[in-house]
């Protein structure tokens, strides 16, 4: 399960809207193995594309350092799908870097943004519940 504060939820959805027409991407930090997101880091999409994303490598380093300084680790990534369903694309599955991570997708293909979270292990995609917490 992915546990999100309302703040991180709206940060991800807001970032996804801000970066239209391109895909937005960012990293999630929390205590390892808990699924609890404490910080969502906005990152630059070096692909600058409506169909692809590449997390800027300096933003990756900055997020990792900040997470370490808080005693956290990077536990996942979020990105937006501007015109498609909130489901990992073949590219997302092929390039998923860590089986322990949570893969969040914000779809903007309908009027209301839809946020979903997945685990991707050895090419197998499994949706997981997302719990919104007040704090």
């Amino acid at each position: 399960m992915l546990r999100l504060s309302e703040l991180t939820y709206f940060a991800m959805v807001g970032h996804s809207l801000d970066d239209l027409p391109d895909e937005a991407c960012g990293l999630l930090a929390g205590p390892l193995g808990t699924g609890k997101v404490m910080v969502a880091y906005r990152c630059r999409n070096d692909a600058a594309s409506a169909r692809l994303y590449t997390v800027n490598s300096q933003d990756m380093l900055r997020a990792d350092r900040d997470a370490q300084s808080r005693g956290l680790d990077i536990i996942g990534v979020y990105h937006s799908h501007t015109h498609t369903e909130p489901y990992p694309s073949p590219t997302d599955v092929a390039q998923a870097p860590d089986p322990a991570w949570h893969y969040v997708i914000v779809s903007l293909s309908e009027a209301e943004p839809r946020l979903r979270s997945y685990r991707i292990v050895d090419g197998t995609v499994t949706e997981e519940p997302v719990a919104l917490e007040r704090r």
């Binding site: 991407c25 990293l27 390892l32 692909a47 169909r51 692809l52 994303y53 590449t54 997390v55 490598s57 300096q58 990756m60 380093l61 990792d64 680790d73 990077i74 536990i75 990534v77 990105h79 990992p88 694309s89 073949p90 590219t91 997302d92 390039q95 998923a96 870097p97 860590d98 089986p99 322990a100």
Partner: protein, 91 residues
């Protein structure tokens, strides 16, 4: 003089669960060779069989991505910290 190498969560299991290890070398490539000598499970995970850097990792010398320096030939000295992080991309 050994340099500090920081490992991402996905590679820690291949290095005895450690987040930070030490390795010797005067270039990033030599440091990785020493790393694989110490932790054979890391073979192929950072440097590919053809001797080039894996495209799914970012490697930094301190604050700089070595792709924009001299890649595996980037010089390192005792005060440097080498960080390995996932290169995150998708569609």
């Amino acid at each position: 003089m050994p340099v500090v190498v920081r490992l991402p969560t996905v590679l820690r299991n291949s290095a005895g669960g450690q987040a930070t290890v030490q390795a010797n070398g005067s270039t990033v490539g030599e440091v990785f060779e020493d790393l694989v000598r110490q932790f054979p499970l890391l073979a192929g995970q950072v440097v590919q069989d053809d001797g080039t850097m894996h495209k799914f990792v970012n490697v930094y010398r301190n604050d700089e991505d070595v792709r924009y320096l001299e890649k595996l030939d980037t010089k390192v000295s005792g005060d440097d910290v080498i960080s390995i992080l996932p290169a995150v991309a998708g569609g």
